[in-house]
């Protein structure tokens, strides 16, 4: 059996090597067909390798003498810190030793490194960052939330196709509903970009385009793939997180108001936590940067072992289902 090789950058996240290694050990226990290439500080990695009793034959260690932090300028860091854990991990994909790479480090550097080091797949003009966002029903893929602002209509059409392929193959959604983020429901609404994109999407026979989606309806799960330009997507994604945190803070503070509310809080605590768990979405993997020659997955800076093992499962699924190959095939006709 040929092993699925995934590169993991253990530095750059808030919790350091320890939790990344724990996540790796969990994933290795679950998937026999996966091997991991780990980049980071060798002594640290070896320490947790022993501590978590991991099978050394399934781990390749690459020592990094440098680290890219959140204070580094992304493009400069990728160019200059050649021996950083992130660059080393991305190099593994570039050189074909790994098929995917996961990092919890500097977001901008991950995006820049994905494009500059791994490179775009054949036919892909822009590589969108596409996180899953939780809704009242099933999660939706918000594509693009990345650093490629000021996209053109043809880019948005590619995002729609890549998003559909991702949702079908990774999330198992049959005939995924594709909507475009707009300021109204009718086709004549929108800015110049959206008005130009809508007729192009209507022409695509390989996607299930359902028209415009107003962002008010996103939380109802009205579409599986939400297409938008990266500036809009980034603003919405961060607002989604921000408003979520705001409500959590308000509710917590309300529950701690007095003795009566504290008793109430004790009674509802378990159920409420269970209900709101999906908004933390630790088990959904990270945000994939799509359309590259290999897969690059960005996980949150505050990720722990569960996020890491989920991201490994996500990469495995991406590779097993040959999503990159399917994207390239889908774009062949359109070039």
């Amino acid at each position: 059996m040929e092993k699925i090789k995934i590169a993991v950058d253990t530095l750059g996240g808030d919790y350091g090597c320890e939790y990344m290694m724990l996540g790796i050990s969990e994933a290795l226990a679950e998937y026999d067909d996966v091997d991991i290439i780990v980049t980071g500080k060798e002594d640290e990695i070896r320490k947790y390798l022993t501590e978590y009793k991991m099978d050394e034959s399934r781990i390749t260690i690459i020592h990094a003498s440098e680290e890219i932090t959140c204070h580094d300028s992304p493009v400069e860091a990728i160019r200059k810190k050649k021996d950083s854990s992130l660059v080393l991990a991305l190099n593994q994909v570039k050189e074909g030793n790994a098929m995917a790479c996961i990092s919890s480090g500097n977001s901008g550097a991950i995006l820049a490194g994905g494009q500059f080091i791994v490179g775009r797949a054949k036919g892909v003009k822009r590589t969108p960052l596409a996180p899953l966002i939780p809704t009242l029903t099933t999660p939706s893929l918000l594509i693009d939330c990345g650093a490629n602002v000021d996209a053109k209509a043809e880019n948005l059409v590619q995002f729609a196709r890549m998003g559909s392929i991702y949702m079908e193959n990774i999330e198992g959604v049959k005939n995924p509903r594709v909507g475009i983020i707009n300021i109204g429901a009718e086709d004549e609404k929108g800015n110049a970009l959206v008005k130009e994109t809508i007729p192009l999407l209507r022409e695509c026979k390989d996607i299930n385009f359902i028209g415009s989606v107003e962002s008010r309806d996103i939380p109802n799960g009205v579409a599986d793939v939400l297409v938008c330009e990266a500036f809009v997507g980034n603003a919405m994604l961060k607002l989604y997180e921000g408003v979520g945190s705001m409500f959590m803070a308000e509710i917590k503070s309300a529950l701690m108001t007095n003795f009566k509310t504290k008793i109430g809080a004790a009674l509802i605590n378990k159920t409420l936590k269970k209900t709101l768990k999906k908004y933390k979405a630790t088990d959904k993997g990270g945000a994939p940067l799509l359309g590259l020659k290999g897969l690059v997955v960005k996980i949150h800076g505050n990720s722990k072992n569960t996020e890491m093992s989920s991201a490994i499962a996500q990469c495995r699924s991406f590779i097993v289902n040959d999503v990159t190959g399917k994207i390239v095939t889908a774009f062949e006709g359109g070039e």
Copy 2:
């Protein structure tokens, strides 16, 4: 004493004339210096005039034989339904009989009517819709959320100025902090529009520009005025509402899970409602369409009396403080 005259469209909202008239009666009781011009169905208006024992000398009734509904195409409706309650109310501002107009009707028609009927004030190039959004601290003005998509940098600079003047005069915020919505905190981040706008804002001596704001931080109340292009603003505003509703729905459903959580719910209900009340924001008036020759305020379609009386207070404050005059003065140098 010269009276402050405000035109109110009583049709087009979800709750009809009854609640609009109740809101008017409350505002008249509070403010001696305000008179109202009411447009709508005369017989209905007269009915509530009597029922709420209102002072007829302070009310002028203009009968409307037509009504613009949410199904009407905005621009067409404004052009063709000349005898609709909305067009009649806007005409009162155009003709100088009223200084402001309030409507809970078709949003697009209100925006179109404001521009086509009332018209832009001297020096104003675009008229932004600028609602206040609740945060963990004080509300922020999100400018523009309207229908004027694809704005230019010079428009965004005008929005920053108008927003500052509004927050200083209507909300009483001294030296309001102006931020621009961006995908990162640094000046080199952004799309082409934002990158072009930032240096222009840094040059403005009459505003307190604090730089880029990531939408994740909006709920923390990091800026008093949040400048953005209308497509982005509209997407964020609607998402804000949508995510709010989603959390309310999730919490309600969690609280109703079983006997234990229902008891808990009873204990926290009052406090939780009080905490979350500000997110309904019924007492903050409506969304002003700024930069017109008079003020046009759009209140939610589901507005009742409290929203109406707050919007009248908001219009009164706008007029007493001569916000339009201050905007015109601020723009004179820049033309």
